[in-house]
Symmetry: C2
Subunit: 337 residues, 2 copies
């Protein structure tokens, strides 16, 4: 079973729902009714040592921040504001207490910066290394929540920021490449301490222009495949339009890697992926600018199924390649070690 099959099996067993439940398994957050006009958004993400982080190069403050950001990112990607955080910390026997204190400070600092607060959780002994599970509870106006399922044929596919930077940073860090090259610090920081696009997500949702949205955690290929499946549509991606790929060239050459692979299947960018009517292009760009962010159109939603990547060959012709679910699957791909 891969991650998708596991989730589908669990969802199939989940059984009857509650009248207060608006959306269960299958989106960035579960959505439950709060009051007449608002909803709670609930998400849960786990970071495990040697799978999601390597403590030999991941400073504890930044890991604490990242644990919050990767969860808050799910709330922002549905148009919500994070409010509460629960933490379950798995700590090995004889864990480094100074390390743990720094991790906790990073976590609580990030909570403050995102405007949410830590309200409970659990601490357990963990023989297999450090592990941290967070639940984040956010809130949103019910009529402003953006789901994965609203993409429509003809929509433009947008991403915020740049793609593949976190994957580049992870590869540089894992291989210990060019540690003193400041030009690569931005890539390393994107892996170590990504920022969730909460303000942008909320403004896009509030605009009413966005049809479907999610965060980019598993890579553009996998995440867009999820969005297309939930929406009952397909998508074409244009490799030439991927933002940030050109900036990855030197790092990719050093690492012997492919910038396009980082961009499409690297994962952990924690940027926003969304679709909207092509006519709303200028309006969307203005919203992003007001949030201090860039957004880029990278493809188009179609009536088919799955995601197709279009690349220009050197001879001027184009190649087409199916890329659905070829992104970051934690059960198949390399770990951070």
């Amino acid at each position: 079973m891969n991650e998708l099959q596991i989730i589908e099996y669990i969802a199939g067993q989940a059984g009857p729902t509650d009248a207060q439940l608006i959306k269960g398994i299958g989106d960035d957050c579960a959505v439950i009714r709060k009051d007449g006009t608002r909803v709670w958004l609930l998400t849960m993400d786990t970071l495990i040592e040697s799978v999601h982080f390597n403590s030999s190069f991941h400073p504890p403050e930044k890991l604490g921040r990242k644990a919050v950001s990767v969860n808050v990112s799910d709330v922002g990607a549905m148009g919500g504001k994070p409010v509460f955080v629960l933490l379950s910390a798995g700590l090995p026997h004889g864990f480094d207490e100074a390390w743990f204190r720094a991790f906790t400070r990073g976590l609580t600092d990030a909570c403050r910066e995102y405007g949410c607060c830590l309200i409970g959780g659990d601490t357990v002994a963990s023989p297999g290394g450090l592990s941290f599970t967070l639940t984040v509870i956010g809130e949103a106006e019910a009529d402003q929540v953006v789901y994965r399922s609203g993409a429509r044929p003809g929509d433009t596919v947008w991403v915020s920021g740049e793609l593949g930077l976190a994957a580049a940073g992870l590869e540089l860090l894992s291989a210990g490449l060019a540690p003193d090259n400041r030009a690569f610090d931005h890539f390393r920081e994107k892996h170590l301490n990504p920022q969730a696009r909460v303000t942008l997500g909320r403004q896009l949702a509030a605009s009413g222009l966005v049809h479907a949205m999610m965060d980019l955690s598993d890579g553009l290929a996998t995440d867009l495949a999820h969005l297309c499946k939930q929406s009952g549509v397909g998508a074409l991606l244009h490799a030439k339009d991927f933002p940030g790929v050109a900036t990855l060239a030197a790092a990719a050459e050093l690492a012997g890697s492919d910038p396009l692979r980082w961009a499409i299947s690297g994962g952990e960018d924690y940027e926003l992926l969304f679709t909207a009517d092509p006519g709303d292009r200028d309006h969307l760009i203005r919203i992003a600018e007001q949030c201090g962010q860039s957004i880029s159109p990278v493809g188009t939603i179609g009536t088919g199924a799955g995601v197709t990547l279009i690349q220009k060959r050197i001879d001027g012709t184009s190649s087409e390649m199916a890329v659905a679910y070829q992104g970051f699957d934690h059960f198949r791909k390399q770990t951070v070690g």
Copy 2:
């Protein structure tokens, strides 16, 4: 740092709270405002292989049920009803898929039986063995929630059910003792598949008679010490009144263990611990009977601090012993292996 110190450090860093937060770190659940009259209760508990369960003798269906019960128990112990569940599953590479399906069935069956539903979560690769973190969201009338902090000098200390059975069962299972002795099945089942006292907890809370309540997860000594600390009181426990200890004699002799130690520091009974005015004794017993449960008075709340255990010696004199925080600390004590 032991578990208590870790929680106190985290709580000290947690920072500003939200106007919707009624109770943060320090009780069985965090409590947040839902609407004018009701609250949400949020709790999170992790089960880690070789710390909390041994998969060589823990059937997956029962482990799935237990993962729900230990969380739901926290909701019931504050007088709430469980509604929603989030699951983060950590699965080793090449995990046993049939095992995982059985675990998931047990988990979703237990959700149905407690009246809650699984609405989301996360699945991750876990190099260190199986691990499962659940967040359970319950609801309650705001004016019926019972906290740990309400115990008053003069209160009677009550427990539901019997004490030490889960610890006895774990010791029998871990050592492979008397596997065919059906008389011990009840103890083994109490470790493998404990039942959360949700109905009893809700009825006790609704009665308005209970001053403080929590569930017995870490053992009577530790849990009562927490309750006393939160309430600013002390407690006297009378060993002769501990329910169930007499039934443990044969198992304790076989295991070379002490029934009283199981009862006071064994942990994982998932019974209710609560305090109330001595004059409400008969009323409380009737409520428990209506729920099909027994309750027993085991001590008295006093004005001091900490928990003192009173035992009769064979010569008729009594011994007094401080027992606070000598229960089950996951960072100091033996694991289930």
